[in-house]
């Protein structure tokens, strides 16, 4: 009897471990502003980033590393210094903001420039809030610098890695300016127009009353928005009324 139970226990433990590792990574976190390298990749502002564009929150590697990709081979592009990583201009201090998709109990948050740890925040195993911000002094540094941020998880051997390129104390960080992000506005639609104003396209700012055609049908915009894949008119009745 006891032997049976032990066998069952072992079987279940094994099953449990397999289930837990088989579930999709619940992912985790990265620095959103100033934009980290993975944040730029997820926005499409740096080309050929590879897999990281789909999951900027997943740069999870064993603790103690000093690389932007945390030793995760499929994210190696993050450590490619030949890529045109934009640098964000900052003064003598900067506030780093994290996007957290899982609030893991946290031991510490570390910030490095080169081999020097410029800041350490000890959470003593606490669970972080929905967002985390750290103000870090950059005193003694100037010009272009790469900050490596590390989120050390309290109850696992893992950490999350995020690199942020900064231009400290003035100077032109980027020879060519990063493109502005404001979407181009469509011409003001004429509400009285009866003819469709064009074929629906992703990436267009539509105002209330704008009319489009999509798959042979006409629609009127009910709610201002910038269009995107997944928000095609027949799929989002909250945004488009079929005419």
């Amino acid at each position: 009897m006891r032997k049976t139970i032990m066998l069952i226990a072992v079987a279940l433990m094994t099953l449990g471990a397999t289930v837990l590792t088989a579930t999709p990574a619940s992912a985790h976190g990265y620095i959103s502003s100033p934009p980290s390298r993975q944040a730029f990749c997820a926005q499409g502002k740096v080309p050929n980033c590879g897999d990281i564009i789909y999951e900027p929150q997943s740069v999870e590697g064993p603790k103690g590393q000093r690389s932007c990709h945390g030793g995760v081979a499929r994210f190696a592009q993050l450590s490619d210094e030949s890529k045109p990583w934009p640098a964000t201009s900052v003064g003598t201090s900067v506030t780093f903001n994290w996007v957290l998709t899982a609030r893991h109990a946290t031991s510490t948050w570390e910030y490095y420039i080169g081999n020097t740890r410029i800041a350490l925040f000890n959470d003593n195993g606490r669970q972080p809030g929905a967002t985390v911000s750290h103000n870090v002094s950059l005193a003694g540094y100037s010009g272009r610098q790469k900050v490596l941020a590390i989120w050390n998880i309290a109850d696992t051997a893992m950490a999350f890695y995020s690199c942020v390129d900064l231009q400290i104390g003035g100077g032109n960080p980027n020879p060519t300016p990063t493109p502005t992000v404001t979407p181009t506005r469509t011409p003001t639609p004429t509400p009285t127009s009866t003819a469709p104003s064009g074929t629906w396209r992703a990436g267009t700012a539509y105002a209330v009353g704008a009319q489009v055609t999509y798959a042979g049908a006409s629609y009127r915009c009910l709610q201002a928005h910038t269009s995107m894949a997944g928000w095609e008119p027949p799929n989002v009745p909250a945004l488009w009324q079929r005419l």
Binding site: I5, L20, T101, A229, A238
Partner: protein
């Protein structure tokens, strides 16, 4: 355990199900916990229940063993492997005339509905608080579309005669419910202008990342064509929303 476990999880086809549950629960506390975690994980998706632990069945041969329902008109489910054991233990709902679905579909909808509602509530905060017109516009569109989608998903679960909510902690093995804590919404409600925008965007970006992850799980494990198509649209639109919000943060 939950109704969904009792009715839909293909226990009879897993090695686990051949173990006497009553004896297990008498065994020891750790054993009970282990059993609970396995069952919870199984309930969270057909992937965990079938692909990895269904024993000798070849991976991919039956994406949704035992939990498919006949399509309207009585056509035999394509995924049914036709064994007698399966026929004998097919869930009672198999005559639901609402199309084919599996436990992963149900779990996806059960997780997505509260996630959507909360996202819509978060987004609604921006109207009176954000200093940026693009943020207010995007948030209003998110609130409107997610409200719609939540209603659609609720209708599907009702048509399938499935509970609208899973048992508490049934999603723990998937990292919890992926909802943003209520206290965060309260904190946001007290902010205005730039302070609101910075915090709001980071919270909503994380929230939508989680929606993308749940949608990807459904794309891999779901069976119902409508739910899978919704997951595809969620994955695309939320990825684009994240892109726009990241751009707002850095502008």
């Amino acid at each position: 355990m939950s109704r969904i476990l009792a009715n839909r999880t293909p226990l009879s086809r897993t090695p686990l199900s051949r173990m006497p549950l009553s004896r297990m629960s008498r065994g020891c506390l750790a054993l009970g916990i282990a059993a609970a975690s396995v069952l919870a994980a199984s309930a969270c998706g057909a992937d965990a229940a079938s692909h990895h632990h269904a024993g000798p069945a070849p991976d991919g041969a039956a994406p949704a063993p035992g939990v498919t329902t006949p399509v309207a008109g009585g056509t035999a489910p394509a995924t049914d492997d036709g064994t007698e054991a399966d026929a004998a233990t097919r869930p009672a709902e198999s005559d639901t005339p609402a199309g084919v679905f599996n436990a992963a579909d149900v779990m996806f909808l059960q997780m997505m509905i509260p996630h959507h509602r909360q996202g819509a509530e978060l987004a609604a905060l921006a109207k009176a608080r954000s200093a940026r017109e693009p943020v207010r516009t995007l948030a209003a569109a998110i609130a409107a579309t997610q409200g719609d989608e939540a209603r659609t998903m609720t209708d599907w679960l009702r048509a399938w005669r499935q509970p609208l909510e899973a048992e508490p902690h049934a999603h723990d093995a998937h990292g919890g419910l992926h909802v943003t804590p209520a206290e965060e919404a309260e904190a946001l409600a007290g902010l205005r202008g730039a302070a609101f925008d910075a915090r709001f965007l980071n919270v909503l970006i994380a929230h939508q990342h989680n929606a993308v992850e749940m949608a990807r799980t459904e794309l891999k494990t779901g069976r119902n064509p409508q739910a899978v198509e919704l997951a595809r649209r969620i994955e695309r639109s939320r990825s684009e929303q994240i892109r726009q919000m990241l751009a707002e943060l850095s502008s």
